[in-house]
Amino acid sequence: MSDALLSVQNLRIEFPTRRGTLVAVDDVSFSISPGEVLGVVGESGAGKSLTGNAIIGLLEPPGRVAGGAITLEGRRIDNLSYDRMRRIRGREIGAIFQDPLTSLNPLYTVGRQLVETILTHTDMTPTQARDRSIELLQEVGIPAAERRIDSYPHQFSGGMRQRVVIALALCANPRLIIADEPTTALDVSIQAQILALLRRLCRDHGTAVMLITHDMGVIAETANRVAVMYAGRLVEIGAVRSVIKQPKHPYTVGLMGAIPAIGSDVDRLSQIEGSMPRLTAIPPGCAFNPRCPHAFERCRSERPDLIASDESGVACWLFDEDASDVPMEVAGHA
């Protein structure tokens, strides 16, 4: 896609260890257009945060990008030096992390942190930067911003702190924001406020957002498209509505069935047996095959690729159109 703001192709992240190399993210490809919210969903250990960290160049050693390409507005950013990447981070890509208390320096006022970030990334004078900081705090919905700018992080509540973190991410008007579990630490009523804020910023500024979360509800509320990850691989990608309403991959189907819904009086939730494999023991073929109710011979030996078009894609042999060996009853499910 040429109009994509961010494009990730065949990303592979490895962790070299004494007992061999672990592949934490394998062959992940997706793109995000300007103004779009792409939700990345998966269980803990699925590799969603690693993918986000790789994009902003903050992979913790010994983890490293071992293959593939990350392009931002047509420029490769995965092979930049630390200094070049540092200038892109913050100016072109903003980041919001889960815990707002650890993303803010407790020793500096929020104003000082905002001003410092603005001065680093733009040509503003300190006075302009301070005015801009107040503007940003107002924009993210902090009441009495002129007064609150001189407060320290501990003087804010959790929801207000997360707003400050969002203001920090917005300092240099980035084109892309990586939001890693931005509402997980917050209460439901505050979560709704923060998600509404993210949606509004997206609409008003045309900022693209990569929203990493384990919560399908957050995705349904906020994202335009959703990518589902399992054991380091992308298993399904598509428009939020179609993935949530008609999930294709057996894992996504299981995941949706496992979410309790208000008003549905089922006695048992549908559950996926077992748990996600550890990185040291990813099964051959499709990583989901030991837990998949529809697995057949091919799933155990051959790995399905994500058959991706612009709109959607699913990595599952059940959806391989020119396959002849799909058992009949399974094909019926597909």
Binding site: M160, A192, G254, I262, Q271
Partner: protein, 365 residues
Amino acid sequence: MPDAAAPAPSANGEVPLVEVVDLAKHFDVSKPFLNRLLEAEQRQVLRAVDGVSFTIPRGKTFSLVGESGCGKSTVARCVVGLYRPTQGAVLFDGTDIAGLRTRAQIRPFRKRLQMIFQDPYASLNPRWRVSNIISEPIRAHGLASSQQEVQSRIDDLLTHVRLTPADGEKYPHEFSGGQRQRISIARALASNPEFLVCDEPTSALDVSVQAQILNLMKDLQRELGLTYLFISHNLAVVYHVSDWVGVMYLGRLVEWGEKRRLFRYPRHPYTRMLLDTIPDLDMSGRDRQPVAGEVPNPINPPSGCAFHPRCPHANARCTEELPRALPVEGGGQVACHAVEEGRLAVEDRGTITPPPIEDALRAGA
């Protein structure tokens, strides 16, 4: 608050297993004496829980929901006896267990109620084998006479929570979060309890694992006739597991009632607000209006009804007078001036079919 006293035993005369009456827990959060003296400050009391009353019928699940800091975990801890209530009673099978003082008095009740905690990583001793962890209640309460009996009980419990007897030889770090929570459940079941208090048992787990644990808990309830007090902030989970639901805000129970009735006809404005925050997985395009404001500091709660600063229906009376808990048809109570005065009509949120009122009464209202 005499008005908030628990309702009489259910229509068929059966005594509910657990009855919480006007429960309060206050924490002294004052500065040290010398600081108070020098800075001329008063004592400060955090009213974590105040005037909470509800009943749990035998074999049913009662859930408490609310945002962080609303006091739901404090209620749970008071009910199992980890905190001594400042005021009020916890009647377990007719006996006020909060009022018991000596070990000998408490002992017979200890094994009849157990607790499951939120974090399965912190609640299991990492240096003990699983079999040791599970057998501790058996040994502590002297429930088995021989080592073989203990061992067969451990194997039995592990099978019950869908693990294998061989898992008893392992250490907690060898298990995933969901499996650890199964171990916690096995430990809780070891003393043959009738009543389990579950404090956010699935909040630290992924959704697919959460489904496994919730299914297991429901199966165990059916098999063993357990009664649950379930604490959660997740309304969808609460809807799935509960028979009765109570909504807490700043230390008070603002509304409680039969699950389907509460979700279909929410009365208290805070309940309505919480229901509005549930993400819409049906993608019906409902335009969610996020509620403004945050939970105030519980050390200085707002006067009158604590919800009034965020409530769209608040008037002068709400800022001054604490609302009384009024009975609701079909069982349960609501504490709201607007509802009492009829200013706020009952809202019908469709789709959910509540049981006929007689059923609700028979279930223990």
